[in-house]
Symmetry: C2
Subunit: 438 residues, 2 copies
Amino acid sequence: MPELAGYRGRALEFLSRVKANIGDVLETETEWGTVTGTVVPRYEYADDNHLVLKLKSGYNVGLAISKLKGATIKKRGEKPAFAPPEISNSRADLPKVLILGTGGTIASRVDYRTGAVSPAMTAEELHALIPELSDIAEVKPEILFNILSENIGSTHWSKLATRIGRSVAEGYAGVVVTHGTDTLGYTAAALSFALQNVPIPIVLVGSQRSPDRPSSDATQNLIGAVSIAANAPFSGVFVAMHLDESDDGIALHRGTRVRKNHTSRRDAFLSVGVPLAAVWRPSGIESIAQDLPKRGDATRFRPATRFDGKVALLKFYPSMPKELISFVGRMGYRGLIIEGTGLGHVSSKDIAAAKALAREGGLVCMTSQCVNGRVNLNVYDTGRDLLRAGVVPLEDMLAETALVKAMWALGNSSSVAEAKKLMLENIAGEMTSRRLPG
Amino acid sequence: MPELAGYRGRALEFLSRVKANIGDVLETETEWGTVTGTVVPRYEYADDNHLVLKLKSGYNVGLAISKLKGATIKKRGEKPAFAPPEISNSRADLPKVLILGTGGTIASRVDYRTGAVSPAMTAEELHALIPELSDIAEVKPEILFNILSENIGSTHWSKLATRIGRSVAEGYAGVVVTHGTDTLGYTAAALSFALQNVPIPIVLVGSQRSPDRPSSDATQNLIGAVSIAANAPFSGVFVAMHLDESDDGIALHRGTRVRKNHTSRRDAFLSVGVPLAAVWRPSGIESIAQDLPKRGDATRFRPATRFDGKVALLKFYPSMPKELISFVGRMGYRGLIIEGTGLGHVSSKDIAAAKALAREGGLVCMTSQCVNGRVNLNVYDTGRDLLRAGVVPLEDMLAETALVKAMWALGNSSSVAEAKKLMLENIAGEMTSRRLPG
């Protein structure tokens, strides 16, 4: 990493002028008084007018260069202490696990005690950071991309699925995907559809607290994920994150049923409508759900890695204008997922707009903003009107999963009618059919 | 109610021809065989081609008239048994409670055992249906409107708030609003802002199961709501719904913190981020939160009942096109609530669109699709970019509440700048400020 990584423009000039490097402890005069902290590297989308210092409290503060009166170096940063230890044995006896990096703060190394995180993705670095990994698997790290998870979209899902698809032939026992937590659930759903019947475990993992914080969940989540990828007796696409606020257990969620349900807790991820796939503890894998496919059978594995990004998700709300729904069609989109209220309702004027969209050949599907439970368009007249309008009810499918599935269904079908059929089929555990009343 | 309420066109002709009335048990020949059930009235938005029969199982089935081969009446419906009993004493000693009907299936009477529900909103009918009410309060029912809750929007909120505002001067001890559950939470938030510092309890109540089903929660919810409105020692706007799947307790949620979190359970409503306001049981009101305002102080009560419906809610999702955000401005909307991922993020291209919208004078605010937790735009560069773009972070406010609040803030401000200030103030318990790190 360059000495002043991420800084540019005025901020870079300032640091050069005072001869400060990343990791140096700097004392600056600001308009509110003296601020002392360690110079932190900056990343993607940083502006050129701020210096970021990590305070003793552990928090970062951004200071406008134009308002700084000067700076004195109080202490030079320590040089990185990441001399990779010799890996004494080849561990060729251990299962091979591919670790694919996409970004996010997990599997990162913290440089110079600044709190700044950069991917630590050579085998040696991983070993130095998390020596436990070497006892679990022969890990092969690979950085696929390094972007913030809010910028990951349908084209990235295709690349990721394609790479994982190849890993099966390459003899990996399992694959771990490190990913920012913001859109981890969406990517898990995408891989679930693209890699249906995958014969090995694919485990997506993130961390809610960056590795420089004492409360970080990064190490334990990654150890759990690699263990599951290496040793689980089942296959499929899963998300591994903290089970609760302790460090004791890692919950394994099914890729189509998982949701980030809290902005900051370490146990933010929940399985919705189904039990957990399993729980990992340092002592082993527990509480394995009976319905998981067994590891190893590759006969039905046919990756289908295309996604059509032109699907919109709209959450219905009171006074929502019908124009919002019509606009989806005007953008040339082929699909729309509606998050209706309750059992799957929208206002009568929005029904008319949805009907027009469906008539123009769009795939219009209904989910519920309640998150829990299932849509049912047979109970009230509004629901029956939506059915007559051609809206497809998606049972107990999460809205987020429905969006991803529609992108996948349209990407892998020759017609909207075919995609609609796929939407109503349970492909990757994303829905359970309602028992019809007798 | 007319004999063939709700039927029109071909369906009405069919019923007239076979001389069937609502409530009659009919045996019909369909393409799948003989179906026997009770003729159920139809409501809003019914088409003219379906006959609806209530089967013995309690479920309703819709039969296309064009496919019916005939029908025989097996049993004539019983005549309604709603002879209102004499109300023996005036009960003028009891607190006066205003019950405002807006639609939905609560406070309905079930006609002829058909399962069809129509508002039962004279004092006599309520007494006949729920005699317990007469021991709790002198109830004054009033039907304000009778529409499905998915069709209730900002103009209805204004009317409702205005009517409730008057009720204080009219000497009511409390007001109960019966409302369909789909958008109950949105309306509760609307009344919370419009009626801040209201000196009496305003209790919104709905039912998840219609009164014709043995598992209905309608009666118990309404008894709880009326009791609270009549007797609670506190004031404010609340939602009263089942506490759990039993009939034992009614949870009282704060109007700005409540969310329908399940499509069908009786205990679908949850308080998010705060404890319940109280729990009602037949034995009395329990577990009253310490921070609720005391009943009775009307000095600060100034209803502000205007809402500007031109606010949009967009939930961010991977590959969301920036055009969707720009379109909000093109519709002439003054406000946009974004449900971002995690701490409140969107993709970098959507940041640019949000920035443009804010620059054009729009009120652009950030909430999180995680539902739980709070947004924080100071942690990552994406967040800081959003702050620089002029996006307003709404702490731990629910997205649904944020939408309603923005409509209210724009409706009661002379400028967007003033509305923005209101958004950042805690007006009705909708947000708790984060303690800033030291």
